[in-house]
Amino acid sequence: MNLAVTIPYWGQSLLRVLGGTVAVLLPAGTIVYLFLFKMMSFMQSRLGPMEAGPYGSMQLFAEVGKWLQKEDITPARADKRVFRAAPLIVLVSTFLLVAVVPFGPDAYFTQFDAGIFYMLAVSSISTLGILMAGWSSANKYSLLGGLRAAGQLIAYELPMVLSVLGVVIQAGTMNLQTIVLKQNSDSIFGFDGLGYPYIATQFVGFLVFMIAVQAELTQTPFDMPIAESELVSGYMTEYSGFRFLIFFIAEFATAGVFALIASVLFLGGWGIPFSWFGWDSVDSIDNWMNVAGPLVMITKMMVLAGIIMWVRFSYPRFREDQLQRFAWKVLIPVSLINIMLTAIFKVAF
């Protein structure tokens, strides 16, 4: 990127993060939130939000306004500092996660070669926040919820890592930007009209990844830690006001971010197949892709987030032991076999 003034690397990164947050995350959050709420309302034969703004489009702002007005209650017997910090940690994990996601040839916050490694490491920080929230609330329901969450998130971290490994083996890199470029410039058996999205060969990996994401997000059918009809929202029980809002935003934002990551890993990310425009290398990509890329990404993310929510609103939830059994006895063996097959094909062809 050539600019009139020379900006040091840290300055560039800061600008990217701030600009990205304002330009990408806020509108994307609003659109995704509205889209998901409308979608699930139609699934449940109702209209959903209609009052705030035209066709309920300002619902997110209305809700933020409502939650900000509420009193921020800390239970008397809670561990106050931990209790207050917990939602922030969960939200920070979401923002750290979005930092590595590329949105276009130059439109990325940061890119480095350990991208996937970083992503997997950062995504488990939210576990810490949830455990903190559950433990410090001085509430038995919260405690049960927090413990369940910790057990579940650790169990599902593993199939997630293993399912991503298939992509890493195929791409030969852990850099998310390079993975996108490879998917859009490669060809399937000489046919390059579609690029080579890894979902074609890593379909099993994709399924395992999406199931693990569902569990990481503690969405139904894996929402044992929240279980509003049973643990009365688990670790969130004691939260109110803007701290609850932060949990709430983090829940939706993380769903969006994981959908972004899934689309980068399996669906070709921001790219459109390079053969369409005759691009052959990174440098020959036209500049307008920096604007079109985020739109392509958000479209793919909406589809994936839609699937996540679709499953969420049509399935009942697993019991804790069934959930663990599913992770250890089904998902992990399946993804191990997937890695083995991928490695064999990689070496053979």
Binding site: M43, Q44, S45, R46, K140, Y141, L144, T220, P221, D223, M224, A227, E228, S229, E230, L231, V232, F313, S314, Y315, P316, R317, F318, R319, E320, D321, Q322
Partner: protein
């Protein structure tokens, strides 16, 4: 039967033994968890005290009475026709069904019988309130297990039934429509065709529920083999209704006793299930909703002509005597023991409501299950707080 002091002693001993077991085997502290009185799974204000070892329940005790409204006492200062306005608030989801056994008991004491058309309409409304009640159960079951969508479908389709009830009685939840000797009014014009359409919709709803919930693997794995109640135990605790039939006991008061209701004029099946687990209880209710729609359809076809009110005096004085009438309500057996001294109002009314007995099995059935199963078992036992506390 042990008296109350003895039972308290026994439950204290059980709690102590549970603690002792914990400390010896695992050297961990148990945790007492109050499920309720304010908890989404208790449909109101039932409090269940459970002692947990990790997430396993080692001892549980329901504590009812947070919503006791004293209906038995209140009936003593009401006249007979006024009582129906009280009692249809007992099981608030199927209110009309609460009125019927009381009115039948009063009619039994007065030795009058409602004309055939009134009996038909009574039975139709009785079954409609069963459908309204149980269809909401099916949706609520989904919510308890984490599936949000079924409850919206249940509310959507229950609305049709409530509209029907409203078109006849003027009230959606508290009809207060049954009278000693018959009914307040005849059916409105166009009711029969409309009702038939709604019954078709309800059958579709049942199919939808079967697809969405009962066929779901997660749903089945959550409910099958959980909370098994053998037939003997179910009888000992006095369970009734679908909870009893799910344990394989073929017992249905609609078929087994001859009341002045129109059940003997229609063809229908009493479903039983051999398993006795939570899934069986839910499945029985699903089938019963279907049977109820069939009963209503047939009753609409065979509706006799005639008046809807027998000849009763303007001021109702019920002769001296005692009567017990119970019917198969949506939640189970509901009965009234009415004692009259020949006054305008009853001398004493004893209300036997189904949920109170159904919940009494909770300490037995919850022992040894996990916390998530507590919720699914409570949901499948299906109680309504008004029906427990009266």
């Amino acid at each position: 039967m042990t008296d109350i002091a003895d039972r308290q002693k026994l439950s204290y001993i059980a709690a102590q033994a549970a603690d002792a077991r914990l400390n010896v085997e695992l050297e961990t502290e148990g945790m007492t968890l109050n499920i309720g009185p304010q908890h989404p799974a208790t449909h109101g204000t039932l409090r269940i005290i459970v002692r947990l070892d990790g997430e396993q329940v080692i001892w549980a005790e329901p504590s009812a009475g947070y919503m006791h409204r004293g209906y038995e006492k209140l009936t003593e200062v009401r006249t007979f026709p006024q009582v129906t306005a009280l009692v249809n608030r007992i099981d608030w989801l199927g209110s009309f069904a609460n009125e019927v056994p009381f009115i039948l008991a009063a009619e039994k004491l007065m030795e009058i019988e409602a004309p055939p058309r009134a009996q038909h309409i009574r039975t139709i409304l009785f079954e409609l309130s069963r459908i309204a009640n149980v269809s909401l159960f099916l949706g609520d079951l989904g919510v308890q297990l984490g599936a949000v969508t079924p409850v919206f479908m249940a509310f959507r389709d229950r609305e049709h039934v409530l509209n029907l009830i409203e078109s006849v009685t003027g009230g959606r939840f508290h009809p207060n429509f049954d009278r000693i000797g018959g009914l307040k009014d005849d059916l409105p014009a166009g009711f029969i065709t409309e009702c038939k359409q709604v019954m078709k919709k309800l059958r579709n709803f049942c199919d939808e529920m079967e697809d969405l919930l009962f066929g779901n693997e997660i749903f089945q794995s959550r409910l099958r083999g959980i909370g098994v109640i053998p037939a003997e135990v179910a009888k000992q605790y006095g369970l009734s209704g679908a909870n009893l039939r799910a344990s394989g006991v073929d017992w249905d008061l609609r078929r087994d006793q001859s009341l002045p209701l129109a059940y003997d004029k229609v063809e229908w099946k009493v479903w039983t299930h051999p398993d006795g687990d939570s899934f069986a209880r839910c499945w029985i209710r699903l089938q019963e909703t279907r049977e109820a729609t069939k009963i209503v359809d047939q009753l609409l076809d065979t509706m006799p002509a005639g008046p809807v009110m027998a000849k009763v005096p303007r001021i109702i004085k019920v002769p001296e005597g005692e009567a017990w009438v119970s019917t198969e309500n949506p939640l189970g057996e509901m009965g009234y023991y009415v004692v009259s001294k020949g006054d305008l109002g009853p001398f004493r009314v004893k209300i036997r409501s189904a949920s109170f007995n159904n919940v009494s099995i909770v300490p037995w059935v919850l022992r040894g299950v996990y916390v998530p199963d507590v919720i699914s078992i409570l949901a499948s036992l299906y109680f309504i707080l008004g029906d427990i506390d009266r």
